[in-house]
């Protein structure tokens, strides 16, 4: 049996559910918003892991669950817990359930998309960049510093720079402009990450198992994710990666311990690829909706062990 965990109406989860229906796969949905009607109990010892999962009145053996796709939201901000004081029975149950579920997912056998631990590399972009290099993909020249003079020297060396968060906290990528240089002294308080601007279109690569779907994005905005908000445009189209680059993306995904990843590349005018980030919980629906690439289908086939 396959388990989908999260909010059923959330696009990626809903799209995978639809594809599982089409495949005729045996699956159930763990609806986080019904947390009051969910429970789990399990144990691990030398003979393995077993236990039970209760889903809104139905009980399942954990040993019968062979694959899980989960996109859980922070249980503390579930709408169903609005107005519940800290430590209330409903909040305690939600926290206890989610912790027990997540701990089980970390050690459960089977196809778990993706376990939490390997998602951790995304919490530090420069750390992940060092891992990315090990798999043969180039990374942009990067400087993290609290020294304004070092930034100016780096700018003289590389030309246009961009800056963004060091951690996994989402930030809008900006070019370093004159008005930013005027306030550069502020970095003395908290180091900032600067990168040499890599020219060329963005390429988002989704890897699931050994399937690779590359999407080229041409945008007049530096951070295409915010094109609409910034009054710009972003055009997405399916593309093919050179075989060597596709293999590197597969090796990187598996090397990081992920089954499914969204890899952010840029293709320079010289045809070189630079890797910026590996997203371990990709919201692929935006790319599929714009290109028709069958990513949800590939996820469903992977979960159903049909890849």
């Amino acid at each position: 049996m396959i388990l989908l965990c999260g909010i059923p109406s959330e696009s990626p989860l809903a799209m995978v559910a639809k594809e599982l229906d089409a495949l005729g796969a045996d699956y159930r949905v763990l609806n986080q918003r019904k947390v009051a009607a969910l429970d789990i109990a399990w144990q691990v010892d030398g003979s393995g892991i077993d236990g039970k999962l209760g889903l809104e009145g139905e009980a399942f053996l954990l040993t019968d669950i062979g694959a899980v796709y989960f996109r859980l939201m922070d249980d503390r901000i579930l709408p169903e817990l609005d107005g519940e004081p800290d430590g209330s029975p409903a909040r305690r149950h939600a926290r206890g359930f989610h912790d027990a579920l997540l701990r089980w997912l970390e050690i459960a056998p089977g196809r778990i998309v993706n376990r939490s631990e390997p998602q951790g590399s995304n919490g530090s972009k420069p750390y992940q960049a060092q891992l990315i290099r090990q798999y043969g993909l180039q990374v942009p020249e990067t400087l993290i510093t609290n020294d304004p003079d070092a930034v100016l020297a780096f700018q003289r060396e590389h030309g246009t720079l961009i800056y963004k968060s060091i951690s996994g906290v989402r930030s809008i990528v900006h070019a370093l402009r004159e008005e930013d240089i005027e306030r550069l002294d502020l970095i003395r308080w908290c180091p900032v990450q600067f990168q040499a601007l890599v020219p060329g279109p963005d390429v988002r690569v989704h890897v699931i198992g050994r399937q690779v779907y590359a999407t080229e994005i041409v945008s007049d905005i530096l951070d295409y994710r915010y094109a609409r908000r910034s009054g710009g445009s972003a055009e997405l189209r399916a593309t093919e990666l050179p075989a060597e680059t596709a293999e590197k993306c597969i090796a990187l995904t598996h090397g990081l311990g992920l089954a499914f990843a969204g890899i952010d590349l840029k293709m320079t005018p010289d045809g070189e690829f630079y890797c910026f980030e590996v997203n371990p919980c990709p919201a692929f629906s935006f790319y599929e909706a714009n290109t028709g690439q069958p990513i949800a289908h590939a996820v469903a086939r992977y979960l159903a062990d049909m890849d």
Binding site: E117, Y127, Q138, L143, N146, S165, G168, P191
Partner: protein, 241 residues
């Protein structure tokens, strides 16, 4: 130069630093307060690899080019660093600093005991259930671990923090064991450290009601003093190799 990174009150780190010096290791102890008060920092990643430079307030200079190993006793951002972060962006700033520490520690060359991970700066700070699952994989007998929706998640960590009756240390593949623990556990303990990606691991055992030793848990930041001089020998062997 071998760095010993630790909080100011880490007696085990001070003990290890002293013992390593006595064995001829060029040791620099750098505390969390030293790191928090540091000045200029520069960390680069690119075609040429990764570099790191940091100027400490006392004039010392840390450089990836001169560090030849690290005894890493920082499980998270140093307390002194956290105390310096305030204001409405405190949580964001802490995440930025953690991401930076993770990266610069990863960039250092030589033996890292232990290498940083996203789940802990001195190694993966695993949940008790994860240690039991790993122990089962490598053939260490362990008492069952149970968890359910009814449990308080925080209590699961607290239970794991109790002191262990006996500890086996794995240091770069070498075993330093207390005499009470049977040597049949040496090889599984080595495999556990390998599986955990830890060059330094304290593996805790307790005697069960049947009198047999059972795996209790493991730590990537064990109490080094408990290992005594044999542990200091093993640490020196790693850094002098």
């Amino acid at each position: 130069m071998v760095l010993v990174l630790c909080e100011e009150a880490d007696l085990a780190a001070a003990w290890a630093g002293e013992r390593l010096r006595l064995r001829g290791v060029d040791v620099q102890i750098v505390t969390g307060a030293d790191l928090a008060a540091a000045g200029r920092l520069e960390h680069r990643i690119g075609r040429a690899g990764a570099t790191f430079e940091l100027e400490l307030a006392d004039g010392r200079r840390l450089s990836g080019r001169t560090v030849r190993g690290v005894l890493n006793r920082l499980s998270f951002l140093p307390s002194a660093c956290l105390r310096r972060i305030g204001g409405p962006d405190r949580e964001y700033a802490a995440q930025e600093f953690y991401a930076l520490y993770l990266s610069w520690l990863h960039s250092l060359q030589g033996p890292l005991l232990n290498a940083p991970t996203p789940q802990g700066l001195c190694g993966n700070w695993r949940h008790p259930s994860s240690w039991i699952a790993l122990a089962a994989q490598v053939g260490l007998p362990a008492l069952p671990y149970r968890q359910s929706s009814r449990d308080d998640p925080a209590a699961r960590w607290q239970a794991a923090a109790s002191p262990a009756p006996a500890t086996v240390f794995v240091v770069g593949g070498r075993i330093v064991a207390e005499p009470a623990v049977h040597r049949e556990f040496d090889e599984p303990c080595r495999r556990l450290a390998d599986a955990a990606g830890a060059k330094l691991l304290g593996v805790d055992f307790a005697s069960a009601t049947d009198g047999r030793w059972r795996f209790m848990g493991a730590s990537v930041m064990p109490d080094l003093m408990r290992g005594g001089e044999p542990l200091a020998d093993a640490l020196a062997e790693v850094f002098l190799a």
